[in-house]
C-alpha cells in the first residue's frame, strides 16, 4: 500500500504544472479561475500550445500523434491542468470522436480527421441527444436515408454543446427503422456547413449560451462519411461513452474550486468576522472538503487499478455520482457565501475585457449563475439516476 505517486509520476506532475504556469495566457487563466466566459480562441490557443508540446491527446496511441500514456499519467495531466486553471481540452474531438475513428474509422477517415483534431483545425460537436430521447438515447428518431451517393438526413438534435463553434458534427442517425432500436442506428460525420443544417441557441437559466438545437432538413451527406458499418452506430456510441472516463470525477477542478470557495469565504464577513471562521460555514465547508478527499482517494484507487490492467468498470459510474455531488456542493456554498449579492444579474461582468464596476464583491457576478448552471452535471452524460440504474445492474446484479 503506497498512497504517494512514484518519483517519476511526481516529476511529471511538476512538469505539467510548470508548463501550464509558463505557457497559459494569464488572462485566460483568470477567466477560467473566475468563471468568466471563454471564447473559442481561448480554447484553441491553449489547444495549440498543448499540441505543440505533444500533450493534446493523452488517450490516443502514439502512432496517431497521441501521448500513449497510462491511466495515472492521463489522470495527472488532466488534474494538474484543471488545478492550474487551464481551459479543459475540448472533448468532442480528442476524447469522443477521435478514439472512435482510431478504433472503427477507415484509413481515409483517420488520415483526414485525426491530424485536424490534433491541430485544432476542426471543432467537432456531438449529435446524440434528441428532444424525445434523453436518458433513452437509443430511441432517437433523426433518420438518414440512402439516396444515390448520399445519406439524406432529417431530424433534430439537442443539447449540442458549443455547436456554435463547430464545423463538424458526429451524429447518431436511424438508418434502419425496421430492426430493434439499438440495431438500426449508424454514426455519420457531417460538415456543419452543409445546406439544410440550422443551429439554434438554447439559453440556460443563467443567461448563457452553451448548448444548441441542431436541425437537419434534407441534409445530404456523402455516403462515405459513415463510421464503420451501417447499423453499428449504437456500438460505437457505447464505446465512446465508456471511453476515457478517468477525469469523470473532476477532482482537479473541484480542488481548484475549493480554493476559490475558501478565498471567497475568507473575504466575506459576518458581523466583522470572516465567514470562513464562523463555525457553521466552516464546518459545512469542511464536510465538503472531506467528501472531496474521499473522492480523490477513491479516484486514485480506481486509476491505480486501471494502470495495473483492470478495465475501468462500474467505478466510473460511482465517480460520476460523487463527483457531480461535490461539484454542485461547491457551487452552492459559493453562492451561499456571498449572501444577498447572489441576487444581482450582471452577465456583462463575465465578458472578457469587461471593465465596469462590479455589483458587490468582484467575485460575486458568476456565482448564482454557476450554481444554476451546474445542476446540469448530475443530468448530462447519463443522469445520476441512470448511473444508479447501471450500477444496480452491473455492480450489484439487481
Amino acid at each position: 500500500m503506497d498512497l504517494k505517486y512514484s518519483e517519476e509520476e511526481r516529476a511529471f506532475a511538476e512538469e505539467v504544472r510548470a508548463f501550464v504556469r509558463a505557457e497559459l495566457d494569464p488572462a485566460v487563466r483568470d477567466r477560467v479561475l473566475n468563471h468568466k466566459r471563454l471564447s473559442k480562441e481561448d480554447y484553441l490557443s491553449w489547444h495549440r500550445k498543448l499540441a505543440q508540446r505533444g500533450w493534446v491527446a493523452p488517450n490516443w496511441p502514439k502512432e496517431h500523434g497521441g501521448c500513449g500514456w497510462n491511466a495515472v499519467y492521463r489522470f495527472i495531466h488532466e488534474e494538474v491542468m484543471a488545478e492550474e486553471g487551464a481551459p479543459p481540452i475540448v472533448a468532442f474531438g480528442i476524447s469522443m470522436i477521435g478514439p472512435v475513428l482510431i478504433a472503427f474509422g477507415n484509413d481515409a477517415q483517420k488520415r483526414h480527421y485525426l491530424p485536424r483534431i490534433l491541430s485544432g483545425e476542426d471543432w467537432w460537436c456531438q449529435g446524440f441527444s434528441e428532444p424525445g430521447s434523453g436518458s433513452d438515447l437509443a430511441s432517437l428518431r433523426t433518420k438518414a436515408v440512402l439516396d444515390g451517393d448520399h445519406w439524406v438526413v432529417n431530424g433534430q438534435k439537442t443539447w449540442t454543446t458549443l455547436a456554435q463553434h463547430a464545423n463538424l458534427i458526429f451524429c447518431l442517425v436511424r438508418t434502419d427503422p425496421t430492426v430493434k432500436k439499438q440495431e438500426g442506428i449508424s454514426m455519420l460525420l457531417i460538415d456543419m456547413a452543409t445546406p439544410g443544417i440550422t443551429v439554434r441557441p438554447i439559453i440556460t437559466i443563467d443567461g448563457e449560451h452553451e448548448v444548441n438545437e441542431v436541425f437537419f432538413d434534407d441534409v445530404r451527406v456523402p455516403k462515405e462519411n459513415i463510421v464503420g458499418e451501417p447499423g453499428k452506430g449504437w456500438t460505437y456510441a457505447k464505446f465512446l461513452l465508456s471511453h476515457e472516463r478517468s477525469g469523470i470525477a473532476r477532482v482537479g477542478q473541484s480542488k481548484r474550486e475549493l480554493k476559490r470557495l475558501k478565498a471567497i469565504a475568507a473575504a466575506e464577513e459576518v458581523d466583522g468576522v470572516p465567514l470562513i471562521e464562523t463555525k457553521a460555514f466552516r464546518e459545512k465547508l469542511a464536510a465538503l472538503e472531506i467528501e472531496l478527499m474521499a473522492l480523490e482517494l477513491t479516484n486514485l484507487r480506481m486509476i491505480a487499478a486501471e494502470k495495473s490492467g483492470q478495465a475501468p468498470g462500474a467505478e466510473a459510474n460511482m465517480l460520476k455520482i460523487k463527483g457531480s455531488e461535490v461539484q454542485q456542493g461547491l457551487t452552492e456554498l459559493m453562492m451561499e457565501a456571498v449572501g444577498p449579492y447572489a441576487l444581482p444579474f450582471n452577465p456583462e461582468a463575465l465578458e472578457p475585457g469587461w471593465n465596469g464596476e462590479p455589483i458587490g464583491p468582484d467575485y460575486a457576478a458568476p456565482l448564482a449563475g454557476t450554481y444554476f448552471n451546474y445542476r446540469k452535471v448530475s443530468i448530462y452524460g447519463g443522469s445520476n439516476e441512470i448511473q444508479r440504474n447501471i450500477l444496480s445492474k452491473s455492480l450489484l446484479g439487481l
Binding site: 434523453g134 436518458s135 438554447i202 437559466i205 458581523d271 451561499e336 441576487l343 444581482p344 450582471n346 444554476f372
Partner: protein
Amino acid sequence: MDFTLSETQRMLAETTDRLMRERYGFEERKKILAGPDGFSRALWATFAELGVTGLGIDEEYGGLNGTMGDLAVVAEAFGRALVVEPYMPTIVLGAGTLSLAGSDAQRTELLPQVAAGDLFLALAHGEPKSRYTLCHVDTRAEPDGADHLLTGAKAVVLGGDAADQFLVSARTAGTATDPHGISLFLVPKNAPGLTIRAYPNIDGTRAADLRLDRVRVPASARIGEPGQALPIVAHAVDRAIAYLCAEAVGAMQALNALTLDYLKTRTQFGVPIGSFQVLQHRMVDMEVALEQARSMAILAADRADDPHPHERSRAVSAAKVQIGRSGRLIGQSAVQMHGGIGITEEYAGGHYFKRLTLIDRTFGDADHHLARFAAAN
C-alpha cells in the same frame, strides 16, 4: 381552529389568480421583463383598481386594512405566477413600515398614493458589509442644523429600481452593529447626492445599490423616533419574510404541478417517466415538503404581527428555515427530474427554481434563521 380562507380571502385569491391567468402567462411575463421598466405599470394600475395595492393599508388612507394573512393570499398567487412587480418592496416593506411607524403627516401624504398605485417605495437598509445582520448599519446621518446629512452605501435594495422614495436607515449614534442609534429617513429618488445603480436580479425582479453622499434630509423626513428604527425595521422585515414564505409556497406549488405533469407526459424507454419508482418517491417527498412549508407559511403570517417580538421572530425564523429547505429540495429535485429542459430559459420550471433559490438568500438564508431560531430557544 380553522385553516380555511375567509370569504374575503377566497375572493382575493380568485381575483388575483384569474388576473394572473389572463395577464401573466409565461410569454406575457417574458414581454414584461423585456419592457423598459422590467415590470408592467399597466398591471400595477390594475392592482390598484382591484385594491391589491391598498391591501395592507388602513382604510383611512384609502386602503382595505387587510391582515398579513390577506397579503399572504396575494403573495401565494404572485408566487404561482412568478410576479416581478415590486409589490413586496412597495407594499409590505415600504407602506408597511410607514403604517408601523410613520408620522400622521407621512402616512397622510404617502399611503393614499401607494394605495392608488401612484407611488413606489423601497426600504434601503442592507449594506455591502451587513449580509443578513439587521443591526449592521454603517451609513451615517450627521446632524446639520435641523437637517441630517446621509452618507454611506446601501446594497441590493429590492425594488430600488422603481422606487420613487426610499426609506433609508442610517446611524445617528453608535457604531457598526449597535442595535441602538439607527434612524430611518424618507429620501426621494432625485435627492442631490443620491446615486442609484439599478439592475435586474437573476430571477427577473429588480434591485439597486445606492450611494449617499451627504444627502440632505429635513427633520420631517424621519420615520419614528431618532435612534429607534431597528425594532421597526425588524418588524417590517419579519412581515416581508412572512410574505416571501407565502410567495414561496405558491412557487413550490406551481413547480410541483409542472413536475408532476412532466412525469406523466414525458416518456422514456416507452413509458412515462412517472412510472419509475425512484421518481415517484421523490415527487412524494416534494409534496410532503410543500405541505410542511405551507404549514409554516401559515404560522409566519399568523405571527407576523404578534405583539411579542420574540414570539414573532421565532415563528418567522422557523418558517424561513422550512421554506429554505423545502424550496431547495423542490427546486433541485424538479430540475433533476426534468433533465436539461429544467435549466433552460424557455421553460417555466427553471424560473421557479431561481425564484425559490433567491428567496432563500433574501433577508437571511436557512442557516441564518436556524441560528436565530436556535438562539431564541
